[in-house]
């Protein structure tokens, strides 16, 4: 390894900045990279910001007091859009999507329209005693559940997600395992998402997955299909925490200095489009948090004839460094 690269690798580990980070768009320009859409295969639907928790890393500021919830009128428009667009995957997110009163109907109407339906879950809502029917519906329609599980360590988990959450995560995953999710040959897929519990980058995914699989099984008899590690995006409550704790500049520098041009091809905004609870389109969930509309223009789902065109521009900001750091975020 070249001396300079070796030294940079070691000194980068401290995360101490000496200069501000370069704006994302300038980094792309300097490296001769363009971020444009490929073929859009995934429709992500954010059904609202209502959540039973107020996690400290939330980029959307979701929580129990939020009123933004997908209504039945907008749901009809989204279903009609999905029908005319023929997406491969439809990914339902929030907030806590389980709290949307129309979720069961939404799943039943969307399932015939895509090969794969995904639902993002914080796992804790599933243990509130009122979701048995929802779990049965998800099982019947083979909905892929993507569940948040920050850490195998109780203190770390609760520093991010709130007190007494760790036990409910275990209970939630137990509940899903009990109906077949995560078990071999069940065809019911539950994947875990782990995000760092502070101003640092996530570990290598394959090593994380090995540890999670071993510890969750040995300690609690729990199983899952895949684990994904994602970095936290410096938006929303996480951004507020970064600023209040004096970690913002160091964290942004860390993200920017780990920019990996090889990630550009696979970033999710190239193949995903998001519709918000009020029917407007965004390149991704993070652009929704930032208020950056699809391609920089406010477009309602009713105006869209089909998926966004390949080659169309993607709106970017400095938060985009999150998805291009290290191994990337897809």
């Amino acid at each position: 390894m070249h001396v300079k690269q070796s030294l940079q690798k070691i000194s980068k580990a401290s995360g101490r900045k000496s200069t501000p980070f370069e704006p994302f768009r300038l980094t792309l320009a300097r490296k001769g990279l363009k971020l444009e859409r490929g073929e859009t295969k995934t429709l992500q639907l954010n059904v609202g910001l209502l959540c039973n928790q107020a996690c400290r890393h939330c980029h959307l500021n979701a929580g129990p007091d939020r009123k933004e919830v997908l209504n039945s009128e907008t749901m009809d428009e989204v279903v009609a859009y999905a029908q005319r667009s023929q997406y491969d995957t439809i990914d339902i997110t929030g907030g806590a999507p389980e709290l949307n009163p129309n979720l069961v109907s939404l799943i039943e109407r969307l399932t015939p329209l895509a090969r794969r339906i995904m639902l993002r879950s914080n796992l804790t809502v599933l243990t509130d005693g009122r979701r048995d029917h929802l779990i049965d519906v998800m099982k019947a329609h083979r909905v892929v559940i993507v569940a948040s599980f920050p850490s195998l360590n109780e203190s770390q988990t609760e520093s991010q997600r709130g007190q007494r959450v760790f036990g409910t995560l275990i209970s939630g995953l137990k509940r899903l395992n009990a109906v077949g999710y995560g078990r071999d040959d069940s065809g019911l897929e539950v994947n875990l998402v782990s995000k760092p519990t502070g101003a640092f980058l996530p570990p290598a995914q394959d090593q994380s997955e090995k540890r999670f699989r071993k510890v969750l099984y040995q300690k609690w008899g729990l199983v899952f299909n895949n684990l994904f590690n994602f970095a936290n995006v410096p938006l929303g409550r996480f951004r507020d925490w970064l600023l209040q704790s004096g970690n913002f500049e160091q964290y942004m520098y860390r993200l920017a200095s780990n920019f990996n041009p090889c990630t550009i091809e696979g970033v999710m905004c190239r193949t995903l489009v998001l519709v918000s609870w009020d029917g407007y389109l965004y390149d991704c969930d993070f652009n929704l948090a930032k208020g950056l509309f699809l391609g920089g223009r406010q477009t309602h789902v009713s105006e869209m004839a089909g998926p966004p065109e390949p080659g169309s521009a993607i709106a970017t900001g400095d938060h985009c460094y999150t998805c291009t750091a290290g191994a990337g975020f897809t």
């Binding site: 030294l7 580990a13 101490r16 900045k17 850490s151 760092p196 640092f200 996530p202 570990p203 090593q207």
Partner: protein, 110 residues
């Protein structure tokens, strides 16, 4: 207040190679290889490095390897135990020499 240590100096580490660059290259190539995944995982090596950093009391290494341990999925509990390993070894190294003290004392004593 003046101090011998400035956290910003860690970022200037590469400047050490401006003289005796051949030696620096050998060192850092070796360094990179040591910390790569081998029989031990990168995470295990980072915890060992953290413990050694406390044993030799290097503030640069403590800074760098605290972050490295967190970024390899470790936590305060594990990292604190690793420090105690360093403490146990350092303390034990002093204590075991007490046997020499006892040998000398017994020889000299009636």
């Amino acid at each position: 207040m003046e101090s011998y240590y400035d956290p910003k100096d860690l970022r200037k580490f590469e400047e050490i190679g401006q003289d005796a660059s051949g030696l620096a290259k050998k060192f850092f190539d070796y360094y990179g290889t040591v910390f790569a995944e081998g029989e031990l995982t990168e995470r295990e090596k980072s915890l060992i490095a953290l413990a050694v950093a406390h044993a030799v009391q290097c503030p640069y290494c403590i800074d760098a390897y605290t972050q490295a341990c967190l970024e390899k999925g470790s936590n305060l509990g594990e990292m604190t135990e690793a420090i105690h390993v360093a403490v146990a070894i350092r303390g034990g190294a002093s204590l075991v020499h007490g046997i020499q003290m006892r040998n000398v004392a017994q020889k000299m004593s009636m």
